[in-house]
């Protein structure tokens, strides 16, 4: 969808969503010409609503890729998505979309998004490898295609719910202290620079004991409603190496994923 087309579409959406009007009434003969032209120009309400849903889901997806997403914005977008879903469920259109189930490849995409945001416990159960394989595909340059596939197929009732829960887990770093996804993101970001690997640097500052599942879970339990949290002093200790330039070669990915899964 070209940028101009997208803009045109949102301008139409503006008209539709001004007062939450559901349908346009095409009575009145005097207006027939105008309304017919209007009818052609303004896509159906359902289509527009679907477009808004897609846009919102893309926005939420982008949230995942940003470093530290704005929680307020994410909550508002998620609430909008839920609103649309509720209305679609009442309309019965939800059922329709459900039946147009995704193909095999699309399911892979769904799974990959889901795993992106799982808690450390689920990841420790060894579900990392699928993420890696999907990400490898992304790196081969099919990223934009993936996004549109995700957008159009993420309408099954299951995934949006997961998206939301996973999103909050992402944004709840305390509970996800052992979240390997962040480390993966860091790795993939550096793939652009192909220089001699300093994979050791990547992990040298990290205290491996922290990725021990027990430590993480214990940390979660002991984190009572205090304003001050001891666990958070960690960043200050490791912030000395703020300029560490982590460069990694594509061939090192296997090695890295092994390390993460093992620890």
């Amino acid at each position: 969808m070209g940028e101009e087309e997208g803009l045109h579409q949102t301008q139409l959406l503006d008209t539709m969503f001004v007062r939450g009007l559901k349908r346009k009434c095409f009575d009145g003969e005097e207006d027939i010409e105008g309304t017919l032209a209007g009818f052609k120009a303004i896509p159906s309400y359902n289509l527009q609503r679907q477009s808004l849903l897609d846009m919102s889901l893309v926005k939420l997806q982008l949230c995942h890729m940003l470093v530290e997403p704005n929680l307020c914005r994410s909550v508002l977008i998620a609430n909008t998505v839920r609103q649309i879903q509720e209305e679609m469920t009442q309309d019965g259109t939800w059922q329709m979309i459900n039946t147009q189930s995704a193909g095999q490849t699309s399911l892979d995409r769904l799974v990959s998004t889901d795993i992106l945001c799982r808690s450390s416990k689920e990841q420790a159960e060894g579900k990392l490898v699928p993420v890696y394989s999907t990400f490898a595909k992304d790196c081969e340059g099919t990223q934009s295609q993936d996004n549109s596939e995700i957008m159009s197929t993420v309408t099954s009732p299951q995934v949006p719910r997961n998206l939301q829960s996973n999103m909050w887990e992402m944004e709840n770093p305390q509970e996800n202290r052992g979240n390997f996804q962040k480390s993966l993101d860091q790795i993939f970001e550096t793939l652009e620079n192909k220089s001699p690997n300093t994979v050791e640097d990547l992990f040298s500052e990290v205290d491996n004991s922290y990725y021990d599942l027990d430590t993480v879970l214990t940390g979660m339990m002991s984190n009572t409603k205090m304003g001050h949290c001891d666990l958070e002093t960690f960043p200050s200790q490791t912030s000395a190496n703020s300029n560490s330039n982590c460069k990694s070669d594509l061939n090192e990915l296997d090695h890295i994923v092994e390390i993460l899964v093992e620890s």
Partner: protein
């Protein structure tokens, strides 16, 4: 014109006398302006603001555990009331609050016994007499020193800080929690509000702003992304999860759309100087509430209602999430808030008149009078009007400040700071 992102002003605040004006920017710097003393020789200069001090308040940090960058952008600055010759302010980024002391040095001691003027130690055998060092004048030096660092108390992003009227405590609020601090204690804070659900899947509302009552040190308010304001009394319980008052306007069903909730999200809440009212800013309006009436605001002002038909576009380009601030004038009779296209709006609560002004270089030569601006909605555009579609949404005025007692306002337009004063007759 290109400018670095780090120059974008992210907060503006006058101190309690209006003598100083502080700005914080995206690069973590604080710049303080001081008002010139009025002199009889140059009456037309009538108290201009000049740079007084500049310092780096926050640095970018990297959280290795979460693999997240912590931005150095200054989210808020709040001044403490002046108690001695030095000035104190609080500045905060997303995670850490700092107390800065800004003090002047215009004298230095001379005539030490044990060291000479260069600082080198003198040979003790050469010292034959005792003398008292004397203070001699030197060039004025303004130095800023960090006196306290309040760190590691916020998991989420700090959006507000507010100094209590007891001048001993202050609060910091993030998306889900509010903490109470004592200025003297940096390794501890009390959590007074916590709206984090046990299951994050159930999260549907966040805290957007918070402020202490100007006179009652036990009372504070916080606003939410659902357009509600809660007033809490710290005497009621240690954890103020249950509000004393709940302010919410019932929704207008005829105006309902998918964007209703987003535009109802409150971006700023401010007590009036009197302490009797609170003002809230949501995407399209500014509302004044009487603390004694919870079911609806007493006044509602339309900031830029012409955007109501553009909400979907504004949702797409994320402008709908812009957080505008609002301010009272010293007498609580006029309120001001920003808009797009470098426009800002003032509403006179008594006369019910409002004005739209623009903060731009082309339109404001020094001492020129600002011309009111108008946005035209319909088809026919008058000569000086600007049409909605021509508005520049990248030029947003999110931060403004009003002098505590005079008609002097500070307006931050992206990377530029404008200071406007009432015309002298």
């Amino acid at each position: 014109m290109a400018f670095p992102d780090s120059d974008i002003i992210s907060t503006v605040e006058f101190n309690h006398t209006g003598e100083l004006l502080a700005t914080g920017d995206k690069g973590g710097r604080v710049v303080i302006f001081q008002r010139e003393q009025e002199s009889k020789n140059q009456p037309h200069r009538r108290g201009e603001y000049n740079v007084y001090s500049t310092f780096q308040s926050h640095e970018p940090e990297f959280d290795y555990l979460k693999s997240l960058e912590i931005e150095e952008k200054i989210n808020k600055i709040r001044w403490l009331p002046q108690q001695n010759a030095a000035y104190f302010l609080l500045s905060t980024n997303d995670k850490t609050v700092k107390l800065w002391k800004v003090s002047e040095r215009d004298k230095r001691p001379e005539g030490y016994n044990l060291k000479d003027e260069d600082g080198r130690l003198r040979d003790p055998s050469m010292i034959t007499m005792l003398r008292v060092p004397v203070l001699r004048p030197m060039d004025l030096m303004v130095e800023a020193t960090p006196r306290r660092v309040f760190a590691n108390a916020h998991t989420y992003h700090i959006n507000s800080i507010s100094v209590n009227s007891d001048y001993e405590t202050y609060m910091s609020a993030d998306d889900l929690r509010i903490n109470l601090w004592n200025f003297e204690i940096t390794n501890q804070s009390f959590n007074i509000v916590d709206i984090k659900p046990a299951n994050m899947e159930e999260l549907t509302e966040v805290i957007t702003a918070a402020e202490f009552h100007p006179h009652h040190c036990n009372t504070f308010v916080y606003s939410s992304s659902k357009g509600t304001i809660r007033l809490c009394d710290m005497r009621a319980s240690a954890l103020c999860d249950r509000h004393s008052k709940f302010f919410e306007e019932p929704e207008d069903p005829s105006n309902r759309s998918f964007f209703s909730e987003i535009i109802s999200s409150i971006s700023d809440v401010k007590f009036s100087h009197s302490g009797r009212y609170i003002m809230t800013r949501d995407y399209l309006t500014v509302k004044v509430w009487d603390l004694n009436m919870e079911n609806r605001p007493i006044e509602t002002y339309q900031v830029h209602d012409y955007l109501r038909s553009k909400l979907c576009s504004l949702y797409e380009n994320d402008c709908i999430f812009d957080k505008f601030e609002c301010v009272w004038n010293g007498s609580d009779s006029v309120i001001m808030t920003g808009s797009y296209n470098n426009f800002f709006r003032m509403f006179d609560r008594n006369t019910k008149r409002d004005v739209t002004l623009e903060a731009s270089r082309e339109n404001s030569k020094p001492r020129a009078i600002l011309k009111p601006r108008k946005v035209c909605v319909g088809g026919k555009r008058r000569k000086d009007e600007i049409s909605v579609d021509s508005l520049d949404f990248s030029k947003k005025i999110l931060h403004t400040a009003w002098h505590p007692s005079e008609n002097i306002i500070a307006v931050a337009a992206t990377n530029n700071l404008y200071i406007f004063q009432d015309k002298v007759n």
